[in-house]
């Protein structure tokens, strides 16, 4: 307040007061981050948190409703559901993270390159390749890749990256096209900046906002695809516990013991939701012009 008053007194000294509000946390982002943090934390410290070995079978106590000993009950083989949920996120979260990071960076760089060279052969080849990928449902491509290779960590990452980079490339190209037509890119050329510098300093940073929003959306989406692949039996392989395969295992007992479906399903839902909310909140936080609106 005092600095503003000084600025106003400098009459004839013209214009701008500091209008950017101070950085503050958006409640949605805080909520999303806390929930997501709890889930990641639980996965990291699964061995400390679990009372049981997630693969230990106790046939005598199979198909139990939640009790004090087993807060989420036990499954058809007598394994503790809570322990399996603690462990079940580890693989999925890691695979999702790795594949999203790789596909977002590759897709963004390719898309930005294409936008700067719009109409060129490179652009044409890239865009038609994307069309080709998008004309098949991604789950089919992923099925094919994992089917050809052996199911495992890296084959899943590969499958998800190959099906996952296209939205980023499209988005980066679309946003890049708009940026390339901006005067500040022309001005940068007029100051003698190289193509590389223009790409790194102007085009990529300006595409980052929409790309980041996409990253958070796709992270949740990727988690769902992994769950789907595990459900189909080609994702994370037993005995490694996984939320998606827990759903698949629970299917025959849906009516006898609905908690077997309910808990892994809820966890997948909450994880996806928390990531998306975090993304939305961060978007608002890092856009100084948006900071005034909440």
């Amino acid at each position: 307040m005092s600095s503003n008053a000084v600025a106003v007194e400098e009459l004839g000294q013209t214009e701008c007061l500091r209008v950017t509000p101070r950085f503050r946390w958006h409640p949605t982002a805080v909520f999303g981050l806390v929930v997501f943090g709890i889930i990641v934390g639980a996965s990291l410290f699964a061995s400390q948190l679990s009372a049981y070995d997630p693969t230990h079978q106790d046939i005598l106590h199979r198909m139990k409703w939640p009790t004090l000993q087993h807060p989420f009950g036990t499954d058809a083989l007598g394994r503790d559901v809570l322990s399996r949920i603690f462990y079940g996120g580890r693989q999925a979260l890691l695979i999702s993270f790795v594949s999203v990071v790789i596909s977002a960076s590759a897709g963004t760089v390719l898309g930005a390159l294409a936008s700067r060279r719009a109409g060129s052969l490179l652009d044409e080849i890239l865009m038609r390749t994307i069309d080709l990928f998008l004309s098949f449902p991604s789950i089919i491509i992923a099925l094919m890749i994992v089917g050809l290779l052996k199911p495992g960590f890296w084959s899943l990452v590969l499958a998800l990256t190959i099906t996952g980079w296209t939205p980023y490339a499209r988005l980066a190209r679309a946003v890049g096209l708009e940026i390339c037509s901006q005067t500040y890119v022309e001005a940068a050329t007029a100051t003698g900046e190289s193509e590389f510098l223009i790409m790194r300093k102007h085009i990529l940073p300006n595409t980052l906002g929409p790309i980041l929003a996409q990253v958070f959306l796709r992270f949740g989406h990727t988690l769902l695809i992994i769950a789907g692949l595990s459900y189909l039996g080609i994702g994370i392989q037993p005995p490694t516990p996984d939320w998606g395969s827990m759903l698949a295992d629970a299917q025959p007992y849906m009516q006898r013991l609905p908690t077997l479906i309910l808990f892994p399903g809820l966890v997948i839902f909450i994880t996806t939701l928390s990531v998306t909310l975090t993304g939305q909140g961060l978007m608002l936080m890092f856009d100084p012009q948006q900071r005034r609106t909440w």
């Binding site: 013209t14 950017t20 007029a190 900046e193 510098l197 300006n206």
Partner: protein, 349 residues
């Protein structure tokens, strides 16, 4: 107006027969077709004309920034003894921003919204100079101070959206001046600003010219701006220079009917007129150019003098008096334009 002895100043930029064409689907648009002029060291050179006459394309051609489908197809641009059109891309990058820099009409969109303005000046400095970030930042603050931004150390950390158009234009000037260029091309630098700010920016440019000694090409459609700032003027029409002279001569004794039209269309306060005088019609579209003088279809003088040659052959740019050139059939034979100018002076009733 600071008038300098023109003849003693060496030439900084010499453009000869510059041709920049745009290859569109409908045909070849000759946006710039045989432009000649030269700019002397430390001179403010006004380039005047209405929208679409090729002013901006000329300036972009100098920096070789004309994008597809446009192309510089002919002519030479001698700058400090080198032909810019013959330089390699890498050599041209050395010239851009370092020896010749440019400011644009739209000042706010010329700044990247994701960086504080100080960083953008630093960036321009680092492209052409060997210095570390700390030195560059200090220099950036210094430059902001030079262009009259108060509290520059704090403002350097502001983002472009926190700036008004006038302040953003000052920042653009700071960026353009960062490497102390020999030539500054200002493409309608004040068009997007309101009049008071406009005057401040022009004042600033005059002051900086006096201090740093650079030449300025001032592109504008505003004759008022030219009268206040420029030393030498070229009037462009349909991709050609139609008249060129010192600023004083142009306003006292305009020769070309188009220049007269431009000058008489400026509203004058004392005159009580119902309507402003206008030049009928618009600039021809560049594809279907008239065969003779490009201004002939809109030229009332031609009709008054019943000159038939105008629509058949294009006149050359001739020198009627030392330093005063005009492209018009009216002056092709008579070297004494006074007789004609008397019959022409004054707006049509």
């Amino acid at each position: 107006m600071i008038s300098k002895p023109k003849s003693t100043n060496p030439s900084l930029l010499e453009i000869k027969n510059l041709k920049t064409y745009f290859y569109s689907r409908e045909g070849v648009v000759k946006a710039v077709d045989g432009v000649d002029f030269h700019v002397k060291v430390g001179e403010i050179f006004g380039l005047v004309g209405e929208s679409g006459c090729g002013k901006s394309v000329t300036s972009l051609s100098i920096l070789r920034l004309v994008n597809r489908p446009g192309k510089v197809v002919g002519g030479t641009i001698q700058f400090q003894g080198r032909d810019l059109l013959a330089l390699s891309d890498a050599e041209m990058k050395q010239v851009r921003g370092d020896r010749i820099s440019m400011i644009f009409q739209q000042s706010l969109p010329s700044l990247d919204p994701v960086y504080p303005v100080g960083d953008q000046i630093v960036e321009a400095l680092l492209v052409h100079n060997k210095m570390n970030k700390r030195q560059a930042w200090d220099r950036a603050v210094e430059l902001l101070n030079l262009v009259g931004i108060s509290d520059p150390a704090r403002r350097a950390r502001c983002y472009p959206f926190e700036f008004s158009g006038g302040m953003a234009q000052r920042v653009m000037i700071a960026i353009a001046l960062s490497c102390e260029p020999d030539l500054l091309i200002a493409d309608e630098p004040t068009t997007a600003l309101d009049v008071t700010i406009q005057a401040q920016i022009l004042e600033l440019m005059l002051e900086l010219r006096a201090r740093l000694g650079m030449a300025i090409i001032l592109i504008t459609h505003d004759l008022g701006v030219v009268a206040e700032t420029a030393d030498w003027v070229a009037v462009m029409y349909a991709g050609r220079v139609v008249e060129e002279s010192s600023v004083g001569t142009l306003f006292e004794e305009p020769l070309h009917p188009y220049t007269r039209g431009l000058i008489s269309s400026i509203p004058v306060l004392e005159q009580d007129r119902e309507r402003l005088s206008i030049i009928p019609g618009v600039v021809c579209d560049g594809i279907d150019m008239p065969a003779g003088c490009k201004f002939a279809p809109r030229c009332q003088t031609r009709v008054e003098h019943s000159l038939a040659i105008c629509s058949r052959r294009e006149p050359d740019l001739i020198e009627t008096s030392p330093g005063h050139k005009v492209r018009c059939w009216l002056y092709e034979d008579a070297n004494q334009p006074a007789a004609v100018s008397q019959t022409l002076s004054g707006a049509p009733a």
